[in-house]
C-alpha cells in the first residue's frame, strides 16, 4: 500500500499557515466534552497535556515514573535549536529546514521539517515566558552555542541541563493545569495496551505500578508521547525505564511502525567499564565545540598515558577527514569514524573501545576557568564515573545508542494510521529522517506538544462525536484480560534466567549485528537468533513475586518481552533497506567509508504493519518528494 502523509501542497513557506487555517475547529464550549489521553510526560507529552488542558479539553495524562517531571527528556544536556538568527550569522527558517533535511540524509518529509523550523522560534519565546533560565550575556541577551551538523550558532542552552530546564518548564505548565483541574495526572502507571474499537483508538489499558491493578481509561483521542526505543541495545543513554512497550502495543493493534532501523549512535559517551554496567552516560555534543577528538597513530601507543603521546603521533581523524566541519561533524559520521579507528586497533581504554576528547588546546587558549564555566558539570560527571580528571588528561569517549529517529508512522497531523491515535516527539518518525542533528530532539518534542498537536487534534475531534465509547465496553474488558493473562504467563514460567540476562543477550545481539554497522549476514544472523531467544524467554524466564503488588521484575519482563519482538522488526527493516543513510549504515553500501544512499530505490518511508505473532510484517511505503531541497550526497568534508 502507498501511504499518504497528507502534507499540504503549495509553496513550502505557506504550508503550515494554510493548513492551520484549513483545519476544523472545536467550539470553545464543546472542548470540555472531549477526553484526550496523553501517555508520557516528557517534552512532547508534558507540553501537549498542558496546552490541550489550557485549550479546554479534558486531559488525562500518564507516566510510569513517580512524577511527570522525571521523563528522560530531562537528561538532554546541550541545547535546543531555533532559527532566531540572534548572532546575525546567516541563520533563517530556511537554513534550519535545509540543515535538518540534509542532516537526516534526505529521509524526512519536507513539510513536517519546514513546520518544525518555523515554530522553533516560538518555542524559545514560550520557554523564556515560563521562566526557563537560558544562558545569557552580560547585557541580558540570549546566548547561543554551535552544535554538530550546522555552521551557524543557533543552539540555546541552560548550562549543561537544557533538557531538564525545558522539561521543568513544561512540567510547570502541566502542574498549573493539574491545579486548575483541566488535566488529571496519573503517575506510576504503565500503558500496556491500546484499546481500538471499530478501527478507532478509544483508550488505553494501564497497570497501576503500585498496586498492580489493571485500569482502563477511555477517550476521544490518544496521544502517545512515549519516547524512543534504543534500550533495545540494552546499554544506551536512555533511562532504565525507557521501552518500546507503548509503541509496540499500539503497533500490534494496527499502528504502522516506520523506519525502525534509523537509530542514532551518539559519538561522545563514557565507554563501558564492565559487564555489570546498567547504562551508558552521554557527554554533551557541545563538548566537541572545544574538545579535539584523536587516537594514537600507532597501535603500540594505545596503552600509553595520553599526555605522553607526542603531537605528531596523534591522529585528529575528524579534522583530517572532514576539514570544514572538523570535530563538529554530525553524530552518525563522528560515531562511525570512532568505530573505524577502534576497529583499526587504535582505540584506547578497556577493550580498546575508546577515543580521546582532548581539551588541552582549549584550556591553553581560553583558560581552565572558561572551560569550567562552559562544561563544568560534564567534567564533574565524567570524574564521578571514571575517577579521571578531564582537565588534566583527555577524556575517553565511545559511541552509544542514544536516540531513535524511527517510530510510529504519522501523517502531517501527527495522527497514525489508526484514527484517534496521535504520536508525538521521539515516539513518531516524522522529522529527523535517518539521522537527527544535535539539539533538535528538544525542538521537536516541544514543537509537537506546544504548537502542532493543539491545532491538529482539533481538526480530528471536530469530526467525531465525543464520548462514544466508555470503559464498560467489551473491548476494554478484553484488553484488561489479555494484559492480565500475559502477566500471569510471565509469572508462571519460573525458569532459570533473570529478565536482565535476556535483556543483556538481546541487546548484545542488536549492538553486535545491528549497531553502528550492519550487513546482510549480521542481520540474517539476528533474524535467526532473536526468535530462538524469544522462545527461550517464554520458557525459561524467572520473575519472582506476584502481579498484585509493586513488582519491578514483572515490569521489566513485560518490556523485555516487547523488545524481543520489536528487535526482530528493527533487523528486518535494516535488512530490507539496501542502502546506507544516516544512522543506518550497511557496510555493503559505502563509498570509502561514507554512506551510500540509493535514492532511486529507497527514497521512501518504510512503514511496517503487524500481521500477527510470528508472521512476517507487511511493508507499506510512503514515497518522499523533495521539491525545495535538492537531493544531494551528504558531504561534510
Amino acid at each position: 500500500m502507498i501511504l499518504d502523509g497528507k502534507c499540504p501542497t503549495g509553496p513550502i513557506e505557506q504550508t503550515w499557515d494554510k493548513h492551520r487555517f484549513d483545519l476544523k475547529l472545536v467550539n470553545p464550549a464543546n472542548k470540555r466534552k472531549y477526553n484526550v489521553i496523553v501517555v508520557g510526560t516528557g517534552l512532547a507529552g508534558g507540553a501537549a497535556a498542558a496546552s490541550l488542558g489550557e485549550l479546554g479539553y479534558n486531559v488525562q495524562a500518564f507516566c510510569y515514573q513517580d512524577s511527570p517531571r522525571r521523563a528522560h527528556s530531562i537528561a538532554a544536556q546541550g541545547g535546543i535549536n531555533a532559527a532566531k538568527n540572534y548572532p546575525n550569522d546567516g541563520d533563517s527558517i530556511y537554513r534550519l529546514f535545509y540543515d535538518t533535511i540534509k542532516g537526516g540524509d534526505f529521509r524526512a518529509r519536507e513539510a513536517d521539517v519546514w513546520r518544525l523550523a518555523q515554530v522553533s522560534n516560538n518555542i524559545i519565546d514560550q520557554c523564556v515566558a515560563q521562566g526557563v533560565p537560558f544562558g545569557r550575556d552580560y547585557a541580558g541577551y540570549l546566548d547561543n552555542r554551535s552544535f554538530g551538523g550546522a555552521q551557524v550558532s543557533r543552539t540555546f542552552f541552560a548550562r549543561g541541563q537544557t533538557g531538564q530546564q525545558l522539561l521543568l518548564g513544561a512540567y510547570s505548565a502541566l502542574s498549573r493545569q493539574i491545579k486548575l483541574g483541566s488535566v488529571k495526572m496519573y503517575d506510576r502507571r504503565e500503558m500496556l495496551d491500546l484499546v481500538v474499537v471499530d478501527g478507532v483508538a478509544r483508550g488505553i489499558t494501564v497497570r497501576n505500578l503500585v498496586t498492580g491493578a489493571m485500569e482502563s481509561y477511555a477517550a476521544d483521542a490518544v496521544c502517545l508521547c512515549t519516547g524512543g526505543y534504543v534500550n533495545v541495545f540494552y546499554l544506551s543513554t536512555n533511562a532504565m525505564g525507557c521501552s518500546v512497550t507503548a509503541n509496540w502495543k499500539a503497533h500490534k493493534k494496527g499502528a504502522y511502525f516506520a523506519n525502525p532501523c534509523y537509530t542514532q549512535i551518539h559519538p561522545t559517551c563514557i565507554p563501558q567499564a564492565g559487564d555489570y554496567q546498567s547504562k551508558l552516560t552521554l557527554m554533551s555534543e557541545s563538548l566537541r565545540n572545544d574538545g579535539r577528538v584523536w587516537v594514537p597513530k600507532k597501535k603500540e601507543d594505545c596503552g600509553k598515558h595520553p599526555n605522553e603521546i607526542a603531537e605528531d603521533d596523534r591522529d585528529y581523524y575528524l579534522e583530517r577527514k572532514y576539514p570544514s566541519y572538523g570535530n563538529l561533524a554530525p553524530r552518525d559520521i563522528a560515531s562511525r569514524a570512532a568505530k573505524e579507528q577502534c576497529d583499526d586497533g587504535r582505540g584506547v581504554g578497556p577493550g580498546g573501545r575508546g577515543v580521546y576528547l582532548d581539551f588541552a588546546d582549549s584550556i591553553k587558549r581560553l583558560g581552565e576557568d572558561t572551560i569550567r564555566e562552559r562544561y563544568g558539570n560534564l567534567f564533574e560527571m565524567y570524574e564521578k564515573i571514571t575517577d579521571e580528571n578531564g582537565y588534566k588528561r583527555p577524556m575517553r569517549m565511545y559511541p552509544a545508542p542514544h536516540y531513535s529517529m524511527g517510530g510510529l508512522w504519522v501523517d502531517y497531523n501527527l495522527m497514525s494510521n489508526i484514527p484517534g491515535l496521535f504520536v508525538l516527539g521521539e515516539a513518531n518518525f516524522s522529522v529527523h529522517g535517518a539521522n537527527r542533528l544535535g539539539a533538535s530532539a528538544l525542538m521537536q518534542g516541544l514543537a509537537d506538544g506546544y504548537f502542532v498537536i493543539p491545532y491538529t487534534i482539533g481538526g480530528y475531534l471536530a469530526t467525531v462525536k465525543p464520548g462514544q465509547v466508555k470503559t464498560d465496553h467489551a473491548e476494554f474488558k478484553k484488553c484488561e484480560a489479555d494484559v492480565k493473562a500475559e502477566q500471569d504467563k510471565l509469572l508462571g514460567i519460573n525458569g532459570n534466567k533473570t529478565v536482565f540476562e535476556f535483556m543483556r543477550e538481546v541487546g548484545g545481539l542488536m549492538w553486535e549485528n545491528c549497531g553502528m554497522a550492519r550487513t546482510k549476514e549480521s542481520l540474517e544472523t539476528n533474524l535467526k537468533k532473536i526468535p530462538a531467544l524469544r522462545e527461550e524467554f517464554w520458557k525459561n524466564v524467572k520473575v519472582t513475586g506476584s502481579g498484585a503488588e509493586l513488582n519491578q521484575q514483572l515490569e521489566n519482563a513485560g518490556r523485555t518481552a516487547d523488545f524481543l519482538e520489536f528487535s526482530e522488526l528493527l533487523c528486518r527493516d535494516a535488512l530490507h533497506r539496501n542502502e546506507s543513510c544516516g544512522g543506518h549504515f550497511r557496510s555493503e553500501y559505502q563509498d570509502a567509508g561514507e554512506a551510500q544512499r540509493d535514492d532511486v530505490n529507497f527514497c521512501y518511508v518504510g512503514a511496517w504493519e503487524y500481521k500477527g505473532d510470528n508472521k512476517e510484517p507487511e511493508l507499506h511505503k510512503e514515497p518522499l518528494k523533495f521539491d525545495n531541497v535538492h537531493l544531494a550526497i551528504r558531504s561534510y568534508k
Binding site: 513517580d66 521562566g131 533560565p133 545569557r136 498549573r176 495526572m185 567499564a273 547504562k279
Partner: protein
Amino acid sequence: MSDHKTMTLTLIVWRQKNASDAGKFETYTAKNITEHHSFLEMLDCVNEDLIYAGKDPIVFDHDCREGICGMCSQVVNGAPHGGQDRTTVCQLHMRKFKDGDTIYIEPWRARAFPIIRDLIVDRSALDKIIQAGGYTSCHTGGVADGNAILIPKPVADEAMDAAECVGCGACVAGCPNGSAMLFTGAKVSQLAILPQGQGEAARRVMNMTNTMTECGFGNCTNHYECMAACPKGINVKFIARMNREFLKAQFA
C-alpha cells in the same frame, strides 16, 4: 584500572512489603563488586542473586542513572544519596567503599513521604507544592520575544542555580524536621529572581509554603542539613530569599 580487585560488602537494607507493613532490616552480602560499579549496579547484582534464590529483590526508585531525573532516593549510612558532595546515589560509585564495609540502606524518612515498598517512597507531595504555584501563568503561544526583557547574565545565572533542583527530596530526607524548605525555596527563588515570575511572586510564595505545611512537611530550623544532602548543591540562600519573599508578600 583495577577491575580484578573485588569487594565483599554487608548490606543492611530496609524491607517493607507495602505501606501498611511494619518493615524491618534484612542483611545481605554483596559479592564481586568492583570499584567501577555504581551503587545501584551493586544493588542490581545483589538483586540478581536474590532472584536466583527465589526471593523478592530489593525494590528501589531509579531511572536515568545519570544524576538528573531525581528518581533515585536512598539513605546510605544515614546520609541521603550516600553523602558524597553533589552526587545522587545513582552516581555514587563503589570506589568510595572498602572491602568488608557494612552499609545501611534506608528509604527517605519523612511524614510527607509515606513508604510504598522497601526503598520506594511516595513523593507526590513535592508535585503538590509545585502545583500550588511553581510556575508563571503564561499561556501557550502569544508570549513576547525571548529577548524582549533583558536578563543580565548574573541574574540568569542566579536563577539557574536555583533551577538546578532535581526534585529528589533528599533535602526533606536529610532534614531532621522533614521540611521541604530548600525544595520550595529553590522554586520560589528561581521565579522571583526572573522578571517573568515577579508578577505572581507574592501569591506564589504564600500558596506554595502553605501547601508545604498542609502536606505534612516540618518547619525550617536552619540546620542546613538540606544543603549538605542536596545532590545539586542548592544553597540555603534560597531559603533566605523565600523568607524575604514571604515578608514582602505580607506587605503586598
